[in-house]
């Protein structure tokens, strides 16, 4: 279980997150939504350790991880899929998957992982993760790198951005599969109705605060709300 207690974050004299209190229970699928600039991505980065809170604490399974570095949190089971996948010169798709898995995995396992995101290992394994891959391909590889890792908590920052409809359908299936295999929480930052519909909990953020939390029974309120409709209108599909 992950808990954020009174977490605030300030940057350049601006409050980006304001007194966040949040519990991510084990075996839960949580969607964080809200308009652009509401602090969603910052909250995810805060959990991963890419940003550190100005005040407050973050506790994972009763261990205070507030000051722990990114790699320490990763090794405690927190994983993060970037909204904008990172490119490398020289590191291949296979390299990245193997680095992510940490334990020694063979070609067959790499193939298995890539197939979950709809990529053929024969075609992609030896390719460098660089600008010659399309945005959609980079996104799928990014998701594959997170799937390959042993995780307790996985954070996805707008995984639907930049992928086509076929891949998006695959993504929903991937989330369904992941729910069966990880003991902790899956947290998705998203504007997408289909992702919101499969959530156990939806957190609506506005101006750095948690405005409202919806559980499974009240998801229709999220979808019907004015703010959500504006989100759907502005949401980007790959």
């Amino acid at each position: 279980m992950l808990e954020l207690k009174n977490v605030s974050f300030e940057k350049d004299n601006k409050k980006i997150l304001d007194d966040i209190n949040l519990v991510l229970e084990d075996n839960s699928f949580v969607v964080i939504t809200g308009k652009n600039g509401s602090g969603k991505s910052t909250l995810a980065k805060m959990i991963m350790g890419i940003e550190k809170p100005t005040t407050g604490s973050i506790v994972l399974d009763n261990v205070d991880i507030t000051q722990k570095e990114i790699d320490e949190r990763a090794n405690l089971g927190i994983s993060y899929a970037f909204q904008q996948p990172v490119k490398f010169k020289g590191i291949t798709v296979e390299n990245l998957i193997k680095l992510s898995a940490k334990k020694k995995i063979g070609r067959k396992e790499v193939c298995n992982i890539l197939s979950k995101v709809g990529l053929c290992a024969n075609e992609y394994s030896k390719r460098e993760i660089n600008g010659q891959l399309s945005g959609g391909e980079l996104k799928r590889i990014e998701i594959a790198s997170v799937i390959a890792k042993e995780s307790k908590i996985i954070l996805f920052d707008e995984p639907e951005a930049g992928i086509d409809l076929w891949s998006f359908n695959n993504l929903i299936n991937t989330f369904t599969e992941l729910r069966k295999s990880i003991s902790g929480a899956i947290v998705v930052i998203s504007h997408q109705e289909r992702i919101i519909k499969i959530a156990d909990k939806v957190i609506l953020m506005n101006e750095g605060k948690i405005e409202k939390t919806y559980n499974k029974d009240s998801l229709h309120e999220v979808l019907a709300s004015t703010i959500c409709c504006k989100l759907q209108g502005g949401a980007q599909n790959g």
Binding site: M48, I50, E69, I70, D71, A74, N75, S79, Y80, F82, V86, F88, K89, G90, I91, T92, N95, L99, S100, K102, S145, K149
Partner: protein, 305 residues
């Protein structure tokens, strides 16, 4: 040859007893072992120090190893090797120089390699440079490579400076006739106070000639690197020159790419990027559980592999 010689040979050219194909091993300024085949002959020059490697027309899928090792401190070894590659021949040539220096004198190898490829010949050329040893004596390597491609010929050149080389100046010259292709990949790592300089001078004289040059380098501590390239397009041709460098600590890199178009159908591109390791790359690998140091190592290894 002792174990140190064998290890050096393996490092620079993967050379061991199981090697098939022709070879010539040079140690401390003299040839020590040679093997020729029906299609590849190796002849000692009579006017200067060096060898002629002659590959017959239509030779297919053969390899030639010509490694050089220097284990005697204080030696300056200058050698001229000329490669005559026959029409339609396809051959892989593995060169390299390893210097082991345990003393205080400078050890240096200056290798001048000239390639003459006849019509439709294909060559893959791999050259590794490496230095090691407990001594304070410098390890210097100055390779000169000249490539002359006749109609239809192609050459792929991969040069790697692994580590331990104190000073290196690489000069590469290419003259390309019509329908030829020269692909050059260079990877260089420098550390401490090492210096590495690269100078490319390529003339695309024939229609449909092309060249693609990629230089990837990593300069760390107080080392210096300089990359100079000049590509002249004298016909309907294509050239792409890319210099990518990562710097760390007080490492310095200068990149001076130059392209000259003397023909309206010459299509020439050059790119140069110099910078430290991108923060986002480090963060991404750290989110996979690598420490910052491990992440740096993976990025550099991937970049230079």
């Amino acid at each position: 040859m002792d174990n140190m010689d064998k290890e050096l040979l393996k490092t620079i050219s993967n050379f061991d007893e199981k090697i098939q194909g022709a070879y010539n091993i040079r140690k401390n300024g003299a040839g020590v072992e040679r093997k020729v085949t029906e299609n590849v002959n190796i002849v000692t020059k009579t006017d200067v120090s060096g060898i002629d490697i002659i590959v017959k027309d239509n030779t297919k899928k053969e390899s030639v190893h010509i490694p050089v090792i220097i284990t005697k401190s204080g030696l300056t070894d200058v050698v001229y090797n000329d490669f005559y590659i026959g029409k339609n021949a396809e051959v892989e040539i593995i060169a390299g120089c390893g210097i082991h220096n345990d003393n205080c004198d400078t050890s240096e190898h200056d290798g001048i390699h000239r390639f003459y490829l006849e019509e439709n010949a294909k060559v893959v050329y791999i050259e590794k440079h490496y230095g090691e040893g407990k001594g304070t004596g410098k390890k210097i390597l100055n390779p000169v490579t000249e490539v002359y491609l006749k109609s239809g010929a192609t050459m792929e050149m991969n040069t790697i400076q692994i580590s331990g080389v104190d000073d290196a100046k690489r000069i590469t010259k290419g003259v390309l006739e019509n329908d030829t292709s020269l692909i050059i990949t260079e990877k260089i790592m420098t550390e401490n106070t090492q210096n590495a300089e690269t100078d490319f001078n390529l003339e695309l004289n024939g229609d449909n000639s092309s060249t693609h040059v990629v230089s990837r380098s990593f300069a760390t501590e107080s080392s210096n690197q300089k990359f100079v390239s000049k590509v002249i397009g004298n016909a309907k041709c294509f050239a792409h020159v890319e210099c990518d460098a990562i710097i760390k600590d007080n490492g310095k890199v200068i990149a001076i790419p130059q392209i000259i178009a003397n023909n309206v159908d010459a299509n020439l591109i050059h790119e140069a990027t110099i910078g430290k390791i991108a923060g986002e790359q480090l963060i991404k690998l750290m989110t996979l559980g690598l420490s910052k140091k491990e992440a740096e190592k993976e990025i550099i290894n991937g970049f230079l592999q």
